[in-house]
């Protein structure tokens, strides 16, 4: 199992434990974490699963593929640590990863 820590835009924190292989988006949705809509169900084609990844964890992630980069380009509040959470698969090395959800998904 891998732990994921979600913080919402107002600062309140919730953690969940999920199996490896699951995406951060799925971890959120299956545990009722609000702030992630995931309208496309994880196909990297809606950008409504946008999260900010804690800088300490950024380096451990696989690089973004061009589709994710392009979809994030549609977001108005993209930052350097923005990722689409459906594109991050949980591995043992990511145990404890911390992400913040934006105020709005767009």
């Amino acid at each position: 199992m891998v732990k994921v820590v979600f913080t919402d835009h107002a600062g309140s924190e919730q953690s969940v434990e999920v199996a490896t292989g699951v995406s951060i988006m799925e971890a959120a949705v299956s545990n009722g974490i609000s702030g992630i809509d995931a309208d496309c169900g994880g196909s990297c084609s809606c950008a409504t699963c946008h999260v900010y990844v804690d800088k300490a964890w950024l380096g451990k992630l696989d690089a973004m593929n061009p589709d994710e980069d392009a979809m994030l380009g549609l977001s108005t509040d993209r930052q350097d640590n923005s990722r689409l959470s459906c594109q991050i698969r949980l591995r043992d090395e990511l145990d404890g990863i911390a992400v913040t959800t934006p105020e709005f998904q767009f």
């Binding site: 309208d39 169900g41 084609s45 409504t48 392009a70 549609l74 108005t76 105020e103 998904q105 767009f106």
Partner: protein, 428 residues
């Protein structure tokens, strides 16, 4: 919505030999099925044709039609594949089934491919981002309240005209901070931009250009007013003061304004009407809603799925390709029937029902997916949420009387007229 380039050709009139109205969807030859003909859409007979294609020919070639040959894609997952492969399926030259008359096209990013699409969209999308919409919510709500409070109780009237059109027009006026008394011009320009010459609104393309020039002149005047004033919350002020937008060439400004007006007009209007119709068809859902208003946001997504205000978007194959076993050649038209994907029971349970508390209601195709996913989707949802919150404060029931009249179009899925009677909430 459509843009200036979606032209429903005049020779596609109801009595045309291409019409499938009144025909049995299962006994006609598969290859004769022509979803693009507007007849079955106006007569509300389209569902069994969509079902047959999903079952027997999910990627279907129609070789002969009033609009030329085209492919119909009807399954949810195939539509998703087309929508998310812009390098194979292009949005150029147009997203309507009829090819554009080039000289009468005002460029907008809905019919552009990356990288140009992405650059242009990025410049304007901030104006309809949720952060900005928050600032407009109060005024939009007030105006909705005024319209609803002015409606007759217990007496038959046309909901489309008195509510759906009026609300949508006022909401557009609010967004642009457009002179309120001139607001009907916005609807007129939207109608003209998409009208078929000879179809009642305009007689020829010269008239279209005259109206578009008036539109550009009006918005240029507003731009000049706003640029000389303090930055405001309205879309024009944001464009005029925005770093990335303030040097936009006039035609690009017009293209963007029109895309926002046209995009937000029929789609939202028909969702407002469609919601009322759906609650009348499924009274037990109306009961659920009455006992729990917190279902409104979920219901809004479900209404947008159930209505599917835009039946399709077109792509054009950029290369030879294969989709679900079918060979598609470079240059061929590929129509993604959102109206069918949203009825695909492999993905959506009991799709013909509007279920206010449907799980995963947001996972519908009505806004498209991928890079062209509807830019106004949060705005549309906000507008519908406000309208329904205000409706539920006031009326016990909106009763639909008789059958609505539907629009003659296979693209804009909506209503020309729908009579209703309002029943007020009993005093608590």
């Amino acid at each position: 919505m459509s843009d200036s380039i979606v032209n429903e050709e005049i020779d596609r009139r109801p009595e045309s030999k291409w019409s499938m109205v009144g025909k049995d969807p299962y006994s006609m030859p598969l290859e004769k099925i022509d979803l693009a003909h507007p007849g079955i859409w106006q007569e509300n007979e389209f569902l069994p044709f969509l079902k047959r294609l999903r079952e027997e020919a999910p990627v279907h070639y129609c070789a002969e039609s009033a609009t030329g040959p085209y492919w119909s894609v009807t399954k949810y997952k195939d539509i998703m594949e087309v929508d998310t492969s812009p390098h194979i399926y292009s949005s150029e030259p147009t997203i309507g089934i009829v090819d554009a008359y080039e000289q009468f096209t005002i460029p907008s990013f809905i019919s552009m491919d990356p990288p140009k699409h992405d650059e242009q969209r990025r410049v304007v999308q901030g104006v309809v981002a949720p952060t900005n919409l928050k600032a407009l919510e109060g005024l939009i709500r007030q105006r909705a309240q005024t319209i609803l409070d002015g409606l007759p109780i217990g007496e038959e009237f046309d909901w489309v005209e008195r509510v759906s059109i009026e609300l949508t027009t006022q909401m557009l006026a609010t967004l642009f901070d457009f002179p309120f008394e001139d607001r009907h011009k916005l609807t007129y320009w939207s109608d003209v931009a998409t009208a078929i010459p000879g179809g009642g609104i305009i007689d020829n393309n010269e008239q279209r250009w005259a109206a578009m020039e008036d539109c550009l002149a009006t918005f240029t005047r507003l731009w000049n007013e706003r640029i000389n004033a303090e930055p405001g919350n309205d879309l024009i002020s944001m464009l005029a003061h925005g770093e990335a937008t303030k040097n936009m060439p006039p035609m690009e400004y017009l293209g963007n304004i029109l895309l926002l007006i046209v995009g937000g007009n029929d789609t939202t209007r028909n969702s407002i009407t469609g919601g009322v119709l759906a609650l009348n068809q499924f009274p037990e859902e109306y009961d659920k809603l009455r006992s729990d208003h917190s279902l409104i946001p979920n219901m809004v997504s479900e209404i947008i799925r159930w209505q599917t205000p835009l039946a399709y978007m077109r792509r054009t194959a950029k290369v030879d390709t294969v989709l679900n076993g079918q060979q598609i050649k470079k240059g061929e038209k590929v129509i993604m029937w959102y109206a069918s994907g949203n009825q695909d029971d492999e993905v959506i349970e009991n799709p013909e029902r509007m279920i206010v508390d449907r799980p995963n209601a947001r996972q519908h195709l009505s806004f498209g997916f991928g890079l062209h996913r509807c830019m106004g989707n949060r705005l549309a949802e906000m507008q519908l949420r406000i309208v329904w919150e205000e409706i539920m404060q006031r009326f016990e029931r909106i009763e639909v009387v008789g059958e609505p009249e539907r629009i003659y179009s296979s693209f804009v899925k909506g209503y020309a007229k729908m009579n209703v009677v309002l029943h007020p909430k009993k005093a608590a």
